[in-house]
Amino acid sequence: MDESKPTLVLNHVRKSFGDFTAVSDLSLQVRPGRVFGLIGPNGAGKTTTIRMIVNITVPDSGTVELLGQRMTTALQDRIGYLPEERGLYKKMKVGEQLRFFAELKDVTGKEADARIDKWLAKLQLTDWKDKRTKELSKGMQQKVQFITAVIHDPDLLILDEPFSGLDPVNVDIMKDTILELRNANKTIILSTHQMEIAEKLCDDVCMINRSHKVLDGKLREIRRSFSRNAVALQFEGDDGLLNDPELVASMRHVGEDLEVLLGPGVSPQSLLKRLVDSGVVIRKFELVEPTLHDIFIEKVREAA
């Protein structure tokens, strides 16, 4: 996959509004067949970055390239965009609404109708086609909005907080759909501030905070590199041996687990051996992979 040409390339992109810098010197590459997580807290610059990608705003400096070309209005049709703040015409019927957005993306005639029906069926909305949009529940409206983003079969799909407001059943439908598109070699950018979602879905991530890129790369590699030599434990018996500062640097309770950060040079194996030798009953012994949340906090602290 690494050899494939990137769908989207941002080169040293900068954007500021007056004195406020929204995005500073952001470079990244997004490849096909992968879910790319754009991660950061609210106000980090995610939406501004996306707006530059979809050509709503133009960077002050730097370039945005899609499919090997500088971004243009014509290339907008190759992108599907689900904005964070949903927008649908409340009084229009669902079918007409989709038809309008399809036409805006240059999909017309019978082709448009066929695709609309296909997607409505896929997201279990067929019965709602002739209903006015305002009669739909929030979750259903969200699915309609999602269809407007994929109706023209875009090469690049940008989803800004796609799961907010969805119930668990619909979250699963949405996840499956996203993964299906990924498997069809589409490029997907998933922008979210919910790290747990990114963790489950993304292949690559880019973290931004206060307009700066903090970190980017393959999720698996990032997590490995941030592995902190920690173990999650559950056991019964005397925990006296954990007080040895040579062995354990720090501990904390995380839910039912006791999370133990090992001292320098201590391997998880040696901790396990010491525990077994001490005679406690071990119910859980697991190497802790750092969460994106932890990594993010750590990187932000470093930068500060």
Binding site: G18, R51, V54, N55, I56, T57, T73, Q76, D77, I79, Y81, P83, E85, R86, G87, L88, Y89, K90, K91, M92, E96, F100, F101, E103, L104, K105, D106, T108, T148
Partner: protein, 445 residues
């Protein structure tokens, strides 16, 4: 281009299907009628049947003449119209006063006249008697013609409602005519000669073209056209404002801008709504023509005859005004968060439309003045003022063309400026934009 068409289509179809459109289409003409015809009718209308007047003729000579004038006076307008059944009731701008009277006269109830002789009673006695008859609603008023009326005596008119302008005027002119005829007869002129001499003339207004000036319609017709263009510009400007704010507040704008440029988006919206307006006016125009045709087929209602060119001019000048003002509304919509805020911000511009409308009152009276000329060249006034000039006196073609060129050039300039503000305004949320901010946007984009 395809995308622009998609926007036009959506805007048009969605709006024409609404209840609002149907209601406005039906109510529009009724409101117009209410605003123009009804006040005129009300002014002239007398409730409660004919006016009953008692005349005490102390001269003993003129009663018959006065009574005849009062009872036949109202036939005159009808008589004036008979020689020109094919043309419209030609009432030039200067005759608006006359028109008003005529409207009053036509609806005025006739007079029932009764002579009361003094006999051997004193005038005071008779007056007392008549006062009580007025109190009993037996009569509406009485007129005393003094013995020296034919020299310089002043007749008295006492009525329950002495402030009724039309009644007073009719009585006054009837007495004047009667007295004039009587004086002539007294001076030895033959009765027939007097009658002949009293025939009113029928003024024939000649326009600049040397032809009998045509298509002027009545004062009310011109006024109605001005009002119609004023109201529909305002109405459809508001529609554009609402549409823009909807897209901004529901964040649809974000998706729209990710699919197309702001210029075709804004144009599509303006064109779509303008087609809605033209559809509505088309319906009104057709209804008007159908109604005229029906009225011409032997009904008592006479509608002004409207030359076809007036419809064309109306459409063109409406579009000009619509694009100028709606562009302003679109920009304002992109700057604010609610329609109320939008209404306030658009106020200074809307006042120009109002000013244009009020200027048209003056222009109807003197369509050739230099005020009229400049007012019809200024693009924010021209949609109303130039149309009013065209309908009242047909200005030289070059003036019409110049006015249109200036107007549409202004519209295009505004649209260009607007589309720069529009994109940034539409993507901004949460608060109303300030003018300095907007100036910065224009420079930015």
């Amino acid at each position: 281009m395809k995308k622009l068409f998609a926007v036009v289509k959506r805007e048009y179809i969605q709006r024409v299907r609404t209840k609002f459109f149907v209601i406005a289409t039906v109510l529009g003409p009724l409101l117009m009628a209410a605003f123009t015809v009804v006040p005129a009718l009300l002014m002239g209308m007398k409730s409660g049947g004919p006016t009953r007047v008692v005349i005490i003729d102390q001269t003993g000579k003129v009663y018959a003449r006065v009574a005849k004038e009062l009872q036949t006076g109202r036939e005159r307008p009808a008589k004036r119209e008979t020689p020109r059944p094919t043309t419209q009731p030609a009432v030039g701008p200067g005759e608006s006063q006359e028109q008003l009277k005529q409207a009053g006269r036509m609806t005025e109830a006739s007079f029932v006249v009764e002579e009361v002789r003094l006999g051997d009673r004193s005038l005071e006695d008779v007056k007392k008697d008549l006062e009580s008859r007025i109190q009993r609603h037996d009569i509406d008023g009485y007129v005393i013609l003094p013995p020296d009326l034919l020299k310089d005596g002043r007749p008295e008119f006492r009525a329950r409602n002495a402030a009724d302008l039309f009644t007073k005027e009719t009585i006054e002119s009837s007495i004047s005519k009667a007295v004039r005829s009587q004086r002539l007869v007294d001076a030895g002129i033959k009765e027939e000669a007097v009658q002949q001499a009293s025939e009113p003339v029928d003024l024939k207004p000649i326009g600049e073209t040397g032809q009998e000036s045509k298509g002027e319609g009545s004062f009310f017709f011109v006024f109605g056209l001005g009002l119609l263009i004023y109201m529909s510009t305002l109405l459809y400007g508001q529609v554009v404002l609402g549409a823009v704010i909807e897209e901004k507040e529901t964040r649809i704008a974000e998706i729209l801008f990710s699919s197309m440029r702001s210029f075709p988006l804004m144009m599509g919206k303006l064109i779509g709504v303008s087609l809605v307006a033209l559809t509505q006016m088309g319906i009104w125009g057709a209804a008007f023509l159908a109604f005229s045709a029906w009225a011409a087929g032997g009904s008592s209602i006479t509608l002004p005859h409207v030359p076809p060119m007036v419809f064309v001019y109306f459409g063109v000048f409406f579009l000009m005004g619509y694009f100028i003002y709606s562009t302003v509304y679109a920009v304002v919509g992109s700057m604010v968060t609610t329609t109320q805020e939008g209404g306030q911000l658009a106020m200074p511009v809307v006042l120009m439309l109002v000013a244009g409308f009020f200027l048209s009152f003056n222009i109807i009276r003197s369509p050739n003045s230099s005020l009229a000329f400049w007012a019809s060249m200024f693009p924010f006034f021209a949609p109303i003022t130039m149309l009013v000039r065209i309908v009242t006196e047909t200005p030289p073609l070059w003036q019409i063309v110049l006015s249109l060129v200036i107007g549409f050039a202004t519209a295009i300039g505004l649209i260009w400026l607007a589309s720069r503000i529009y994109r940034i305004g539409m993507l901004m949320t949460g608060k109303k934009a300030t003018i300095p901010e907007v100036m910065r946007w224009i420079k930015q984009s």
